[in-house]
């Protein structure tokens, strides 16, 4: 009967139900979008580090993230390669430069240069063309998300980077940058040429370790050989990039802050409507008390009412959130929804409604059962 009472109480006043559901829905959508953007940003920030086939990264001291790296001597590659436990040392070039659109104007891009045969960092999610095609003259690959931004229509189109001409030979899908700066994949030598980087410079050395090698020992040994550079594990570099973009710049704080704000606003709206619903049904709760119900029984009715509102609000909120996720899929700032995030949102919604129910429970606990005689 507690479920029946809670269900009927909830649906008795349709307008209040709508207000409650809108409160929950608003909260869920806001939190889903904020946390989805946070997850999307996180994925974009670490995607290159995750895809690169390197256990250790050799880079210029103080490098804060993948895109903003300073050049290091190319000989660092040999220093890494000569260290016991290192199976492969792959040079990598990455830097910002200008892309001149064929239609006029220019935009900032990040050129990533690596030899395809090294398997250090190859374009992935290729939907048109082939990575082996990067060996062709002027060849570059871009993500289809940025076609409009780069002023091109697809494979075969040309543009200018620095003083050189580039030709699009392949397209990827879903390789997006947190800085909204398009990535341009090409070979190591062509990247050096496009970026006007001296032949004795590179940006990173990716060290792939032999099976069983102790990563800390190898890192220490490489560090001793490259005193002017820094050696980070993949996890450290990933964390440093996240710390920089999400926390040092305040972007992540803003997203998480937005999510918290959504929760607070949602909790206040749900608490207010539940409280006023309970107030309207106060005489019924007093009657229950007069009939001899325990306070636990009444708590159960109120909490069930809050739980029902949570589940309904969650279903509606998730429907809208998933629509937004779908619509953002092909934009430069995609919102990510994972099963874990969906579960977290459900838990947050239930918690939010349970907290909201506390004010209603407090009100019921203060009622005088004798009020049943005064109506």
């Amino acid at each position: 009967m507690t479920f029946t009472l809670a269900f009927r109480n909830l649906f008795y006043d349709r307008i209040r139900l709508v207000v409650t559901l809108v409160g929950i829905l608003f909260s869920i959508v806001l939190v889903a979008v904020q946390l989805g953007l946070y997850l999307g940003a996180r994925t974009m920030i670490i995607s290159m580090i995750e895809q690169a086939d390197g256990d250790l990264w050799v880079m210029a001291y103080g490098t804060k993230n993948f895109e903003e790296a300073q050049p290091i001597p190319a000989r660092e590659k040999f220093a890494a390669l000569s260290t016991p436990g290192v199976a492969k040392a792959i040079p990598l070039i990455t830097s910002f430069t200008d892309w001149r659109k064929p239609t006029g104007g220019s935009t900032l891009v990040v050129v990533i240069g690596a030899e395809a045969e090294d398997n250090g960092l190859r374009p992935w999610n290729v939907i048109e063309g082939d990575v082996s095609g990067l060996g062709a003259r002027d060849a570059v690959m871009i993500d289809k998300t940025y076609l409009a931004e780069l002023g091109v229509n697809g494979v075969g189109d040309t543009a200018q980077v620095g003083a050189s001409r580039v030709r699009i030979t392949g397209l990827t899908e879903g390789i997006r940058s947190f800085t909204v700066t398009p990535y341009i994949f090409t070979t190591l030598s062509r990247a050096r040429s496009l970026l006007d980087m001296p032949v004795d410079k590179i940006t990173y050395v990716l060290a792939k370790l032999e099976p069983g090698a102790d990563i800390e020992v190898v890192r220490r040994q490489i560090s001793q050989k490259v005193p002017d550079s820094e050696v980070l594990t993949r996890d450290e570099f990933r964390q440093r990039s996240l710390d920089h973009w999400l926390f040092a710049t305040g972007a992540g704080v803003a997203l998480i802050g937005g999510a918290i704000l959504g929760l607070v606003v949602g909790t206040v709206i749900v608490a207010q409507t539940l409280y006023s619903s309970t107030k309207d049904h106060l005489n019924e709760f007093a009657t229950l008390r007069a009939l001899g119900s325990s306070s636990g029984y009444i708590h159960k009715v109120i909490l069930t009412q809050a739980g029902l509102a949570a589940v309904l609000g969650y279903m509606l909120g998730m429907t809208i959130a998933l629509t937004i996720v779908y619509l953002s899929e092909h934009t430069a700032l995609p919102i990510v929804m994972t099963p874990a995030l969906a579960a977290l949102l459900l838990a947050l919604t239930v918690a939010m409604c349970a907290i909201s129910a506390l004010s209603a429970i407090g009100k019921v606990m203060r009622i005088d059962p004798a009020m049943v005689f005064n109506r």
């Binding site: 009967m1 507690t2 029946t4 009472l5 009927r8 109480n9 649906f11 008795y12 005489n283 019924e284 009657t287 229950l288 008390r289 007069a290 009939l291 001899g292 119900s293 325990s294 306070s295 029984y297 059962p369 004798a370 049943v372 005689f373 005064n374 109506r375």
Partner: protein
């Protein structure tokens, strides 16, 4: 409220059919300068198999006394025994348990749940007693049948007359088989015909030798249904009248009415 040990049990002089006894009940309401002594030392007992009326003018303390007898309010002084159990020192949860086990309420405004059907309203009283499932449904239906509402099981209060709603409230009070049924102005919101029908029902319920019924009222039409009438004024019981003859007459009248209806 503390009580001497010997006062914590039912007095030995009492007859076995006493199901509720109140002794020297004092109730003060309000605080400070606004404090009012609503009951000034009320003693009474309710016997199983009797319908007792508590009559008195407004402000005489009827409802306060009813609240105390129903373990909703606690007395400032005095002692109360319900079904042989002392209520002194019990916390609100323990008092709720006592109500659940031994007390049934009928309210002036029925206090039905507007979102529940008649059957569900009755089942709530079983649900708070942890009695659920098909047995609870059968008991609720039987209680409604007892008050003549077998045909209204699925009706909502809004679709029922005042008399029908009060009969649902009677069924709700009855379904838990309480030792004491307390009714607060059960006919006040009803027209004459429905009021008499409800009183008839209460007097029939009171004939159960395991149950006492107390109705607070100021409706003189209810007097013929009572075995006993208590009069309260200014927080004190000022009179008691036994009415055996009158009750017999009422039951006779009811039997005659049924006979006529059947013929």
């Amino acid at each position: 409220m503390t009580m001497p040990a010997q006062a914590m049990t039912m007095p030995a002089t009492q007859t076995s059919n006493v199901v509720l006894e109140a002794r020297d009940i004092v109730k003060e309401l309000g605080h400070g300068a606004g404090k009012v002594r609503a009951l000034k030392g009320v003693s009474l007992s309710l016997n199983a198999g009797e319908l007792t009326l508590l009559m008195g003018p407004s402000g005489s303390g009827k409802t306060t006394l009813l609240s105390i007898l129903g373990c909703i309010l606690t007395p400032t002084q005095g002692s109360l025994f319900v079904a042989g159990q002392p209520t002194a020192g019990l916390n609100p949860e323990q008092l709720a348990v006592l109500r659940r086990k031994h007390v049934g309420f009928i309210f002036q405004s029925y206090n039905l749940f507007p979102t529940l059907t008649a059957e569900e309203n009755v089942r709530v009283a079983l649900d708070v007693r942890h009695q659920r499932g098909s047995e609870a449904i059968v008991r609720a239906q039987r209680a409604l049948q007892q008050v003549g509402l077998r045909h209204k099981l699925k009706s909502y209060p809004a679709n029922m007359s005042g008399g029908e709603q009060q009969r649902v409230a009677v069924a709700r009070a009855l379904v838990g088989a309480p030792a004491v049924m307390l009714a607060d102005e059960p006919t006040a919101a009803l027209d004459s015909e429905n009021g008499l029908a409800v009183m008839q029902l209460l007097s029939e319920i009171a004939r159960d030798k395991s149950r006492a019924v107390l109705a607070v009222t100021h409706d003189p039409r209810t007097v013929p249904f009572a075995n006993r009438v208590l009069r309260i004024e200014d927080g004190l019981i000022v009179g008691e009248e036994r009415r055996t003859e009158g009750v017999e007459t009422v039951h006779e009248l009811a039997r005659n009415r049924k006979r006529k209806a059947n013929a």
